[in-house]
Structure formats: structure tokens, C-alpha cells
Symmetry: C2
Subunit: 248 residues, 2 copies
């Protein structure tokens, strides 16, 4: 009866991920959240994730580009990749994104820290084998970052589609963890005479580097305007995700 009630409550929660021992935050609970909105905002602010999976008891942590559609995360790779044979049947996976936002210098070693935003997502990763879904995904990975760009590209070939694996992982559970504040030791150690504070860091878009072989007369298209030099990449990527969701 308790289990039935628990399952029912999980199904009824449409705005947060269910919590179990797998994704429950073990420490610094005040930094944590299980809300869809918080998890998605962190996922959408990045294009690079780290995927953990296990082959014969050995864990691997592979960095890769990823994207999100609804509650499913996607990434792709070569059809020759290491994890492929495990992905046909589905393999337990943890996909994490984390962004460093600042270095936190306290008056004690113990209270040194970092500002960051991270999201850990759990699920079963599987190959996308349906051809229509796979083609959709290979357009989405372009258009999610660069609005409508796929329509302007040289079309995909059957060989390219075959050579690319697309992996999908519906998010079963997730947690977000954020630290976004100044040092926390003012009250306990504030009288200790050492400088304390935050050195913020952010990832910034630089000046474009056009292909040296660019056809004469081709200007950078206006659908890349959001990637203006000096802008924060995380903010651009959140805008691009919103634009993609509006358009699809």
C-alpha cells in the first residue's frame, strides 16, 4: 500500500523528478533541487556533457556534445564507438553537466569552495534505430544550436547517417546542485585577517574564425547573431534552446 501510494505520487508530480537513493543528494541539501525547470535550465546552458557508463565492470567517463528534447537527452557518436554494442540492448547511464562559475576563497581551507551549476541525469541509454527518428535527431543537433541552419546545409547522405550513431536517454531521475553565493565563513572566521571573496569565471564567445576557404561573398548569417563576441555562452545556449522549442 505504501509502495502504491509512493508510485502514484511520483506519477502525479509533473514538475519534478522522482527521488530515490540513486539521485538523492547526500550532502549540501540546500544547494539541491529535483525540479524539471531547474534541471532543464542547467542542461540547456551547455553543449558539452560527460557520460558515465560501465563496460565489464570498468567505468568510463566520456565527454560529448548533447542536446535535449523534452525529457530525453541525445548525443551522437561514431558507429565504431566503444559503447555501441551495449547501447543496442540499453545500458544504465549517468549524464552530467557542470559549469564552474567562480572560485570561492575563504579564511580557512575547509571553507574554500567553488560556485557552480550541475545536473546529474540517470536513465537507460539506447541506440535510436528508427530511421525517421534518427534523421530528425541529426537535424535537431544542428538546429538546436544554430536556428534553422540544417535547411541551408548540404544534405545528409545515407552513408553519413549509417556512420553516425544517435543515442537517446529518457531522464528517469535527475538532481541539480547549484552554489551561487559569496564565501560562507563571515560569521565563524570573519575576524581572521586574510582576503576572502569570489573570483567569478564565465565562458565567453570570441570573434568568429571563418573557414579560410569560404566562398567569396558569404557573410556570417544572421541566425548566428546570438553568438556575438563577448556574450556568455551559457546565456546564448539557453536562448537557442527556447528558440528551438518555439519553432518545433
Amino acid at each position: 500500500m505504501g509502495f502504491v501510494l509512493f508510485a502514484w505520487m511520483n506519477i502525479m508530480s509533473e514538475t519534478a523528478f522522482p527521488i530515490s537513493d540513486r539521485n538523492r543528494l547526500k550532502r549540501a541539501h540546500e544547494r539541491g533541487s529535483y525540479d524539471h525547470a531547474t534541471v532543464f535550465a542547467i542542461l540547456d546552458s551547455q553543449m558539452l556533457c560527460h557520460v558515465a557508463y560501465v563496460i565489464d565492470g570498468q567505468p568510463y567517463c566520456t565527454p560529448t556534445l548533447f542536446w535535449r528534447e523534452g525529457q530525453t537527452l541525445y548525443w551522437h557518436g561514431s558507429s565504431a564507438s566503444r559503447m555501441l554494442r551495449h547501447l543496442r540492448v540499453g545500458t544504465p547511464t549517468c549524464l552530467t553537466v557542470a559549469q564552474l562559475d567562480g572560485l570561492v576563497l575563504a579564511r580557512s581551507g575547509f571553507n574554500h569552495s567553488a560556485n557552480y551549476r550541475s545536473a546529474m541525469c540517470f536513465g537507460t541509454a539506447r541506440l535510436v534505430e528508427d530511421m525517421a527518428l534518427k534523421e530528425h535527431a541529426l537535424l535537431a543537433v544542428v538546429d538546436r544550436f544554430y536556428p534553422n541552419r540544417s535547411a541551408a546545409l548540404r544534405a545528409m547522405t545515407a552513408q553519413e547517417i549509417k556512420a553516425t550513431s544517435v543515442i537517446a536517454m529518457p531522464i528517469e531521475q535527475a538532481s541539480a546542485k547549484v552554489r551561487a553565493k559569496n564565501v560562507g565563513d563571515d560569521e565563524v572566521d570573519g575576524q581572521h585577517p586574510v582576503w576572502a571573496g569570489v573570483l567569478p569565471v564565465s565562458t565567453i564567445v570570441g570573434a568568429e574564425q571563418p573557414s579560410p576557404a569560404l566562398l567569396a561573398g558569404l557573410e556570417r548569417p544572421t541566425n548566428l547573431d546570438a553568438y556575438a563576441p563577448g556574450r556568455r555562452l551559457d546565456e546564448v545556449l539557453i536562448e537557442m534552446q527556447a528558440a528551438y522549442e518555439d519553432a518545433h
Copy 2:
């Protein structure tokens, strides 16, 4: 006999990690390296890594701060953390760092890519239980990033040392993978009329945010000068590692 020769060759190589199926690059070999120098330079350019480990068949991918001393990687965490019971006996671990350096826009979806620097390190992670080593590590995690800062801090307490776990992982094997160039499709698709090139990104230090409760008269110390606003964090961190190695 073949095995003996192979083992001997690995031992004789003092500048590269041994290669096996675990760390051999499966694709894009031209981007890969097993040299200590290449792997260490990528590790030293970052303070955030992702650690993959397995508990009861479930992979976890945890972002955390880390540092390097020689061929050993260290990170720390709460003594209440999830992986602690596994760390007493030692657990197979993969520690990865990856940095996004640019968005690569090609004339086809297939050739879209990213510029990046990544290093995957394999080993067995274990708790540092020796007290002298643990205290050294807790000073190193400060001084590796902020030269000589630990001497100016409020001293560690026995309770703080007890509440902190330090984890060490000697690197058994590693691989580095780097893409650092413009689009690669000039010859095959250069005549297709769409803009192509790289949008570079970099992580930059911002203006300091002193603690609001900073004691009057405390200036930012000169040993933080390398973290000047506008500088690239990766370059600062490489300098700080070199300074730490010179001083210790």
C-alpha cells in the same frame, strides 16, 4: 615471451602512459595522444573534473574539483559522500576533464564539430588514510591554485580534517584528445554556399567579488595577481601548477 616484452616496453616508457584496450582511442586517432606532457597540460588547465565510478552496477558521473601531484590525481569530498565505503578498498575510476574551445560550423551536419581538449585517466581510487599525507593534501588543494595561501589561512581543525575525505588515484593509463582547427570540409563541400567556420569560446576570469564582511584594510593579495580580470582561466591554472611544482 611476447607478454614479457610488452610489459618491459611499458615500464621503459617514462614519458607516455601504457596503452591497452581500456584507453586506446577508438576513432579520430589523429586527435589522440598518450604522452604524459599532453595529458598533464590538459589536466593542469582545469580545476573541475568529472569522476565516473560504479555502485551496484549503476554508473555515477560526479563533477568535482581536483588537483595533480606527479602522476597522482586527488580530489576531496565530505566523509558522508556516496562513494566512501567503496573507496576504503579501492574502486575502479575514470576521471575526465574536457574543455570546449570552439563551435565548428561546417557545410554539412555530418562535419559539424567542436574544438576541445580532453583527457581521460584510469586508475583505482582510494581514500588517503595516512594522516600526514591527508594534511599535506588539504594544504596542496589550496596552494596548487593560490600560491602559498594556506600559510595565511586560519589553521585546520582536527574536526575539519575528520569531516573531509581525500581521495587519491595514481594514473595507471590515460589518453588525451584534442581538436584545434578550423572546419575540415573545405575540399569536399567548399562549394556549398553556406557560411562555415569556428566560433571560439574561452573561460575568462571576471572582476573579484570581495566578501561583504571583509575586514577593513584587507587588499586582494598579490599572490592572486595571475587571476587578473579578462585572463583565460586555463592559462592561469597552468601557471599556478608550474609555480606549485617549483615551490614544492
